[in-house]
């Protein structure tokens, strides 16, 4: 297991976080969220990676062949589905925000405070 994928994952997480914090546009913000989410994909996949391992499909290979961990693939799949849902919701809120506030800038969406 190499250190590099985890460094990249941490970098993606922090870069996405910076994007979310400084975002001036809700669509941009949704994309930054997906960048953060990709950090979790990468972390999961690198956890299960085995050097020279084959795909974990044992239909036509010997059952003792070294393969990468299929559990993390399943987790990543679930993760992707979830992310798609959240992105869809945030984008829907962005559309609605344009209709109501006439803006998709979080700086201008201010009706709650205190």
């Amino acid at each position: 297991m190499s250190f590099l994928p985890f460094a990249v994952a941490a970098w993606l997480f922090v870069a996405g976080l910076y994007g979310v914090v400084t975002s001036r546009h809700l669509v941009h913000l949704a994309v930054c969220l997906t960048v953060m989410q990709s950090a979790t994909y990468l972390a999961l996949l690198s956890v299960g990676y085995v050097r020279h391992g084959s795909a974990p499909v044992y239909a036509d290979i010997s059952p003792v062949t070294t393969a990468v961990d299929p559990v993390v693939h399943a987790l990543t799949m679930v993760d992707i589905v979830v992310e798609a849902t959240v992105t869809a919701l945030v984008l829907a809120l962005a559309v609605q925000s344009m209709k109501r506030f006439g803006s998709v800038d979080p700086d201008r969406i201010r009706s709650l405070r205190g």
Binding site: M1, A9, F13, L17, V20, V21, T22, S23, L26, L29, L33, M36, Q37, A39, T40, A43, L44, V47, V71, V72, L75, V78, D79, V82, T85, V86, L89, V90, L93, Q96, S97, R100, F101, P106, D107, I109, R110, S111, L112, R113, G114
Partner: protein, 607 residues
Amino acid sequence: MSVHQLTPLPVVIPLLTAAAIVITSFAPRRVHDVMATGAGLASAVLCAVLLAHAGERPIVEWLAGWHPHQGVAVGIALTVDQLGAGAALLAAVVLTAALVYSWTYFDDEVDVMVCALMLVLGAGLIGICLVGDLFTMIVFFVLTTVAAIGLTAVENEHSGPLQGAINFAVVNSIAGFSLLFGAALVYGRTGALNLAQVGMALGQHHADALVGVGLALLVFGLLTKAGAAPFHFWLPDAQAVAPTPVSAVFAGAMAPVALFGVARLLATAFAPSLASHESALRTVLVGVGAFTALLTAIACAEQRHIKRMLAFATASQVGAMLCGIGLLGDDALAGAALTAAGFGLAIAAMFGASGVLIRRFSSTDEFELRGCGRDLPLTTTTFVIGALVVASVPPAATFYGTWLIAEGARDVGYDWLPVVLALSAALTAGTILRVAARVFAGWGADAPAEPAVASEDRSQEQSSQEEEGDGATSPRPPRVLAIVPLLLVVAAVVLGAIPGFADSVQSGAAHFRDVHSYTGAVLAGRAPHYAAPSMPSLGAAPWLYAGATVLGALAVAAAGLRGRRLWPMPLVDGLRAAHSGHVGDYVVWWTFGMAALGGLVLWAVAG
């Protein structure tokens, strides 16, 4: 049919019913109401059955029969013990009450979606309480997030709900990512996702930096959903603008269930490896809890928007419950569970009662509503009893909860903690009493002369109603809106009065924290050997404690009615400025909290 086979049903029934409701969206709304309420009720009954059967030993159900192979978990387990079943029951009861409340609360066209999403939210919450698997827990966590975003944004034609939903969506998604990241690290280390298996694998080595980072990501991810400071900023926004029954579920079920997740992780997956670091970890968790309780109690006292005030009261009690969990003792955990039961029901009830005011007077502003509620006896009663439950008056369940948390704090030398918790409970209960006295009796001073700050606080809930005529009084809302909250708040009191209830929660908490019995029951199917719990006896201290809290609450209410402020203005201005409503600011606070508190956890675990 054994009770094992019932285990998945409290989650499966609401989910399938939600799907059925969406498929039959052409049917009249009464059909949906009956389906949704029936599903909620069925879930609650099943949770009660599970609770009754989980006393002897945890119910462990391996889905699709994938039993552990030579002590290694290969399948996905549902693990139900008393505390888990109890938390699931609380969630199911609050959900069912909110669904009954929704019968008359919503317009026809939104009702279908609300019913379906509420069931999905409820299924997710119940699921978190019943799982024995890290990843399944995260899946349910995210399921609740997605459903809750939709529910917050139901009234998305107004700016307040839209902003609340955006803040909720972004902050809680990031919390979900942090959970996933933490789970990836833990899985990378242990190769296991089952909580018992993870605990065993982590326990074989000394806790190191990786365990610390994984723990911080998981615990603070869950605490974001619970609303612990400084992760709580989304909570008042979302709870203030969500439709009232939804706010009731957020406050009464979602916050306690998220805390339950924290307790479960600490008691299973991380318990063996952290056994030698307990005191440092305790300092961090109790520090966060006490800080949350006090800070949000002060913010609560500064609110004039009733639902926002109740939201801050929720966060304050979350802090108290987090102290109970963070003390890492059997008694204190039982205290947190009892507080969750009593306060969860009471806060859901008070949100419901505030819905009566919204429906009738199209306002949630304390000063606008002054004296308006004189002819609402049921709603008045709900608020007053609710305030007393928050002030931990006997025989409410919170009385025993507060006592046990104080007992647990004294055992480990945290003598200051009960004082802080009593102070924050007095502040929140006093604020609720102040609002009740002003709205239902017309007592107290008029609006302060500085409405410039406060007028911005009002949510859009009232503007959403203003189309029907500004300030116009609507006809008396249906009685069910007043009766359901009253029943809930009475239940919070009656629960504590049931003989032996507090004792059984105490033994449940002791079993919950017995990681060897848990691991044996899950992985080897062994019958647990529980040590007989030592029951502290109820001395004079808790009565004095409750008395002091009530007196403090009355003093706070009196000061509030006269418009007196009990702390310096810069603190208030600072609090208001921090709750800016800007999603970027909230994420900065989240990042700061994760970095600072994560660092402390790392120091506690690996230092």
